[in-house]
């Protein structure tokens, strides 16, 4: 006799198993339609392989596993796929999920399938693949894909077959053992082979199933399989609990049984694996107990996956008026169903239809008196009363410290609670909340990271801009200092030229900040010339190629490109020349440079952009108005009206700005614009430089006073406009005006001094 360890805690509820073992496993007529949920297991949903209207054969793959932890589904019978849509599924939430609806054609036409005669000729991984392709998942309740569980990385020393069936009422495994002992033993041998023939193979069975025990016993005589019987006590059928009872070992917290060299398989799963390997049949049906006093007959059935519960119940004389709640699974861990159209799935081991007397609805909750009966019943040695206390106050830190996540939700604590507190529901809710918070924490950490990165990036951009501004400012200062130097020096004749020279020098300084040395600069320029020449050539070629069949526009474009390229070449050559004779041609060169930048600015001038903006705004207003007319919802209407107002305001702004934009750039659609603008700018810059040269100090001051007066006027106009509109930038305008006024007075006093 093998040593048996005792279960920690546990309870002994009324078994109620005798009702459903009176007759053998039955079969039901085909239902009118089968509803097969796509995802009946833990893990990724499988990939759908069929479409609405397809005809499928019995055993045909409907969806194949996608990802490592996944399982496929198969057609339970031959027929037509009528729908692929959302349908309520067996889940405590009562929510709907994607299901395949199959209308049987009553031909029961199998797809071609064949079993393996000698599985020992195959490799374990080939067998695992067959198990995976057959859609086999843990039939005990959780529905974890069996192929994953049977392919552990760790070496396995013990295989445990779970035939405990500790929940009251359920007898599916009991009846299976009574009727198919040979197949079960074959299945165990297959599992043993897959796991590399572990040293020890144990079948754990409670002592309330003597018939099953006796049925299995003769088949185990010449094998290394040990049948271990232990006292009936709920929840000894929990995987962790069964391991504790049979081996005295505990699955480490956060680990799996394979970590201690154990693999545990449900006996129903073992049978399904045997069917898949030796007969080639995928998992398309399972044994389900139909029981409870609201059903006239209590019996086990071989049920096709997807059979509606209503079909199952109707064939057993179900009286709904007697049945306040319908349970899928056992009375300890099962969940209630709110609809009868919900189908049987791979994990449905029992449909329990109790009367109100059989399982009375819970009386109201009384306060917890911390009597500790729950702690005595807990198989995981938790303190349910403390967990309840902290779950109620949502103290998640304490819940974690009290090992809430080691709770297996067996319901023993709620069963014994004299105050009728739905403890398990508190734990489930708290666990859900904690998982959600953990997820939120991950999300918020990522958001923080992204925010910090965003801030850092913006700060860097800002710093770069500031650095550029700083460099410009420093260059200007340098120039000013030099000018002061030169003014102080006796060579007064050069002063005028120098002022022009200063601008150039500032530009040079700017350029010098970018350029490393004259040699490099020269090399660069030479490269630039080569490039420009090739550009010119390419443009010329294009132009030549266009001769025959080209529109005017293309012509124009090509010509413009050619001109542009030529200009660039000229520019580069000039620069190179300037570099060669820096003193002579610098002035010219720099002026051209400045002019070019001015030209760029003009190109990007707001005029065109503004016009475009005005036109888009107009368009949008029109659209909005249309919408407003057609809208009948009141809130929508007000929203649209608001939007319209905003848009109109924006339009007004844009138009005003457009009007203010200087007309100099007002040359829309000028084709050779680039060149024109450039040459114009160059001319202006040169004129300005020349004018400055010829101007006396007084005249300069006068000019600056004039320009300042102009600017002030403009600024004041803007300010009044802003005041009228109530713009938020009004303060900025005001300070601008004040500054301008200050500058103006300064310039005027200077002028006055000079003229005297």
């Amino acid at each position: 006799m093998r040593k048996i360890w005792s279960l920690t805690g546990g309870i002994h509820p009324a078994e109620n198993k005798h009702q459903s073992v009176q007759s053998s496993i039955g079969s039901l007529p085909l239902p009118d339609r089968l509803t097969i949920p796509l995802n009946q297991h833990i893990g990724a949903p499988p990939k759908l392989l069929v479409a609405e209207g397809d005809r499928v054969l019995k055993g045909q793959v409907l969806a194949e596993p996608k990802g490592f932890v996944s399982a496929g589904i198969h057609a339970p019978t031959s027929g037509i796929i009528t729908h692929i849509s959302d349908h309520p599924i067996p889940h405590p939430s009562g929510m709907a999920a994607r299901c395949i609806t199959l209308e049987p054609d009553h031909k029961e036409q199998w797809i071609e399938h064949r079993g393996i005669d000698n599985y020992r000729e195959k490799t374990p991984s080939e067998l695992l693949d067959i198990i995976r392709q057959s859609g086999i998942v843990g039939l005990g309740g959780a529905g974890f894909p069996s192929a994953v569980k049977l392919g552990p990385k760790q070496p396995i020393s013990t295989l445990i077959i779970n035939a405990t069936e500790c929940e009251p009422y359920i007898t599916a495994d009991d009846m299976l053992m009574r009727e198919h002992p040979q197949d079960i033993v074959d299945g165990i041998k297959i599992l043993s082979f897959i796991l590399g023939d572990p040293d020890e193979i144990l079948i754990g069975i409670e002592d309330n199933k003597p018939e099953a025990f006796e049925a299995l016993k003769p088949y185990l005589q010449d094998t290394n399989i040990t049948l271990v019987e232990f006292p009936t006590r709920y929840p000894s059928g929990g995987e962790k609990q069964l391991i504790q009872i049979l081996t005295g070992k505990e699955v480490p917290h956060g680990g799996i049984p394979a970590d201690i060299g154990i693999v545990c398989q449900n006996i129903g799963t073992t049978y399904a694996i045997q069917r898949a390997i030796q007969h080639g049949e995928p998992l398309i049906s399972r044994i389900t107990t139909v029981t409870g006093k609201a059903c006239a007959t209590n019996r086990n059935y071989q049920v096709l996956i997807g059979t509606p519960i209503s079909h199952l119940l109707q064939n057993n004389g179900f009286d709904q008026s007697q049945c306040p709640r319908l349970i899928m699974g056992g009375p300890m861990m099962g969940f209630t169903l709110e609809e009868l159209s919900i189908p049987v799935i791979k994990t449905t081991n029992c449909i329990l239809a109790p009367t109100a007397e059989e399982l009375p609805t819970p009386p109201p909750t009384q306060p917890c008196i911390r009597c500790g009966m729950c702690a005595e019943a807990c198989p995981a040695s938790l303190l349910p009363q403390q967990l309840f206390w902290h779950a109620q106050s949502q103290n998640y830190e304490k819940l974690e410290a009290h090992n809430l996540f080691d709770c297996i939700e067996c319901g023993a604590c709620s069963y014994v609670c004299p105050s009728n507190i739905p403890l398990v529901q508190y734990y489930r809710a708290a666990k859900g909340e904690m998982r959600k918070l953990a997820q939120e924490k991950i999300n918020s950490d990522r958001a923080r990271e992204r925010f910090e990165f965003n801030q850092a990036r913006k700060a860097k951009e800002e710093a770069e801009k500031a650095a550029k501004r700083e460099a410009r400012k420093r260059a200007a200062e340098l120039a000013r200092a030099k000018k002061a130097d030169q003014e102080a020096s006796p060579g007064g004749a050069d002063t005028e030229t120098n002022s022009a020279d200063d601008i150039i020098k500032a530009a040079m300084a700017r350029a010098a900040a970018k350029k490393a040395s004259p040699e490099e600069q020269r090399a660069k320029l030479e490269r630039g010339i080569v490039r420009a020449e090739s550009h010119v050539n390419a443009a010329q070629q294009r132009l030549d190629g266009l001769e025959q069949d080209a529109t005017d526009k293309q012509w124009e474009q090509a010509r413009a490109a050619l001109e542009d390229a030529r200009l660039r070449l000229q520019n580069a050559e000039q620069k190179l020349a300037a570099l060669g004779a820096p003193t002579d041609d610098k002035l010219k060169d720099a002026t051209v440079d400045t002019a070019k930048s001015v030209m760029d600015k003009i190109q990007a001038s707001p005029r065109e952009a503004l016009e475009k903006k005005v036109s888009t705004l107009k368009e949008r207003i029109a659209v909005t108005e249309e919408k407003l007319v057609s809208a009948d919802d009141k809130t929508l209407k007000t929203a649209l009206q608001n939007g319209l107002k905003k848009q109109q305001a924006k339009l007004k702004d844009a138009e005003q700005q457009l009007a203010e934009t200087p007309a100099t750039a007002d040359q829309p659609n000028s084709t050779p614009k680039t060149e024109d603008a450039a040459s114009a700018a160059i001319a202006r810059a040169q004129a300005k430089a020349a004018a400055q040269e010829s101007m006396s100090e007084e005249e300069k001051l006068k000019a600056s006073v004039e320009s300042l007066q102009n600017r002030l006027k403009k600024a004041q106009a803007k300010l009044t406009a802003a005041e009228a509109e109530g713009s938020e930038h009004i303060d900025a305008f005001r300070t601008g005006v004040e500054k301008l006024q200050a500058k103006l007075t300064a310039a005027e006093t200077q002028l006055a001094e000079k003229t005297q």
């Binding site: 009386p363 779950a391 959600k436 992204r450």
Partner: protein
């Protein structure tokens, strides 16, 4: 010396008190140096409790600035996205009484929302991209933009700048994957149910009234 002290109870008491004060002062002073906490981890701790939506509803440009402000004495009830949970957590951290949310900064909403861009209406102005504090909007100038839903914190800072108002804040869809059990009815609710002579179940009112009292 000892005799004088022993004979004079007042002196004895004074000596004892002064002695104790000196000893405790020394111990505390030593502890203050020995166990000095470096840096200002309280800001980090507060920041880790804030929801990181970076929405600015608190009046600060992001969660961290608000965390710094709290560390410098600002009130802790200015964060609508975090709601009461966050307030309680910060109150717990700072060991103060947890106030209720300051409605001035917005109200706590039960449903988390994320931004969706009505993409056919988007004109590609990039204003929302610049407004997004967590870089969760993808797009380029004159190209349609889209929100990376998994990175969106639901701060709705992108809604205002949009010139064509094509950004909607839509509630996140709830599916089977994130379904959890609800907490059972609280004792107050059960009492209410009791007084109405209804047994408290998950769905009160679905069963016949049973005499509870």
């Amino acid at each position: 010396m000892y005799e004088i002290i022993a004979q004079n109870p007042l002196l004895a008491a004074l000596t004892a008190l002064v002695g104790l004060a000196l000893i405790f002062g020394a111990v505390l002073g030593y502890a203050a140096i020995k166990f000095k906490v470096k840096g200002d981890p309280i800001v980090e701790q507060i920041d880790s409790l804030l929801p990181q939506t970076q929405c600015g509803q608190c009046g600060y440009p992001g969660c961290r600035p608000y965390a710094e402000a709290i560390a410098n004495g600002d009130t802790i009830n200015k964060c609508p996205p975090g709601g009461q949970t966050t307030i309680n957590a910060i109150a717990d951290l700072l060991d103060v009484e947890a106030p209720t949310l300051d409605e001035e900064h917005g109200v706590e909403s039960d449903t988390k929302t994320v931004a969706y861009i009505r993409e056919d209406e988007c004109i590609g102005c990039t204003k929302c991209i610049q407004a997004c504090p967590v870089d969760a909007i993808l797009g380029a100038a004159k190209q349609m933009h889209t929100v990376i839903i998994s990175e969106c914190t639901g701060c709705d800072l992108c809604v205002e700048p949009c010139p064509v108002d094509c950004i909607d804040m839509l509630p996140v869809a709830k599916g089977l994957a994130d379904w959890t059990w609800d907490m059972p009815a609280s004792s107050e609710e059960q009492v209410k149910a009791l007084r109405a002579d209804i047994i408290a179940t998950d769905k009160p009112g679905q069963r016949d009234g049973v005499d509870a009292a």
